[in-house]
Amino acid sequence: MEKQANKILARSATAGFEEKNDVLITVKPVAAGQGITVKLVSPVQRQYGKHMEKLIMETVRSAGFSDVNIEAADKSAWDYTIKARVLGALERGMKA
């Protein structure tokens, strides 16, 4: 995967829905140096919570961002959905 130059999120944005197998992702820019923080609420917290948090952070990092706060309201999303919604929210957060 290409590592792009550090991007700065222009504004807050959301993607996804609080529906079965989906996840509502909200991304917010934070002050420089604050890093990537994740707050996850999920019905499968015990079973997949750590894994999901790691996946979200990795997805944000690989997309080239470093100072973003992500809130995830999960409804049992599979990995590809989490990744897609994070990427979708980041893309929206870069739109004019």
């Binding site: 499968v44 917290q45 015990r46 997949y48 894994h51 599979w78």
Partner: protein, 519 residues
Amino acid sequence: MKNAVGREIPEVIPGIKNKRLYKGEFAYLPEKPGAARKIRVGIPHTNKVLASIDEAIEKTGLRDGQTISFHHHLRNGDFVMKMVVERIAAKGIKDIMIASSSLSPCHDFLIDYIKDGTITALESSGLRGDLGKYLTVNPQALKKPTIIRSHGGRARAIEAGELHIDVAFMGAPACDRFGNATGRQGKSAFGSMGYAMIDAAYADKVVLVTDNLVDGAVYPYSIPQIDVDYIVPVEAIGDPEGIASGAIRITKSPTQLLMAKYAAEIMEETGYLKQGFSLQLGSGGASLAAALFIREKMEKNDITGSFGIGGVTGVFSEMLKDGLFEVCYDAQTFDMTAVKSIAENPRHLEVSASFYANPWNASPIVNNLDVVILSATEVDLDFNVNVITDSNGVLMGASGGHSDAAAGAALSIIVVPLVRGRLPMIRDHVQNVVTPGESIDVIITDRGIAINPLRKDIMEKLKGSKLPIMTLAELQALAYEFVGKPEEVGLSQDDKDIVAVVEYRDGSILDVIRKPIAD
């Protein structure tokens, strides 16, 4: 000590006297002759009808520390338990054990009476709703762990004298002044009184609570007057909506229907769908929907069945009416169509929980069963089945007739989706074992079907089948490809945190339910 399904059972479980560990489906034989029906003298021309529940509590002599029982034919519309427990508490009676054949969310009120010491122990087939959640998190709220028994196991325990009932409070939809009662008529009609029959026969004192005291004679009767001490008329014994609302509909979910279709096809390909076969279906989802596909095949191949067992819904009573089965043995009636059937169709037979599933009699009807189709909250690589706790270890289901039917049936089928939400349903080890793997022959998921390696005969019959036959390990791996392997839920290892003990049909300990460790 490890039992025969590999579960670690503590040497001593505080509050539990029974020490037998599960050794196999038919390992234990009765050692004692069993309990006797209570004998008492009925004086001629005694009026059994009392003015109130309070009077019944007084007349039965209910005291601190005794055991009361209820049946669960009123399902989630039950008013009887609340009416009785409220009055018991009002009289300041404490330390009561409730041995109900099952518990529903409408019994969540018990939490308050557990907190104030009125109720200190429970024995039931299931624990659900807020009560289930409360006990999972507060195992020490009761003085001993809840004992979970199957329907057959409860009947056995009562008849063997292991569960002694001081006073049975039985809701009766119709009852005459002598105490003959039936579930077939009345505004709260619920059909079969299968679970109530056992309590009525063996409890020291029996109180019928009815909202339909009939002036003439009640016949045919399910509970005979010879078992009844008192009758209390009330306004309503339950909410008809919660008892049996309309006819239970067959699911429209394409995934459930797919699994139902697979079930019918497995039956056909293994040769169990043959002339004169017998069948038991679960009450919802894919297990009930299988009736559609089974019926299609029966009609196509001109096959009629011998008998069905229920949990009976309208779907099955219609098949009975249309001559597809000769008779139906009904221990519990689920919807109004089936209630009508039991009242009108002489081939729809009412049976007690003992007739249905008690392993310690000459032969319960499950012993003659060809096929049963059941569901699960989870299964594991050893084919063990959980129906009582969810993947977080929370009590939310019931043992019911699951292990009874699975042990008796020649072909025991489980239908369960491979993944529910994001949770794989095939675990390495189920949270809690309710039905041991040796009772289960086939597990059907929406992505594949696994055959228990113990059944080489079934594997042989399915050679060359177009159905997606795979091993459980392969199915689990497939699930992990989709959702990854889950982390285990931590359980407290402190024996004081044992929430419930799961008894097998024969009273041996199958598993213990432990409190999950909080985050």
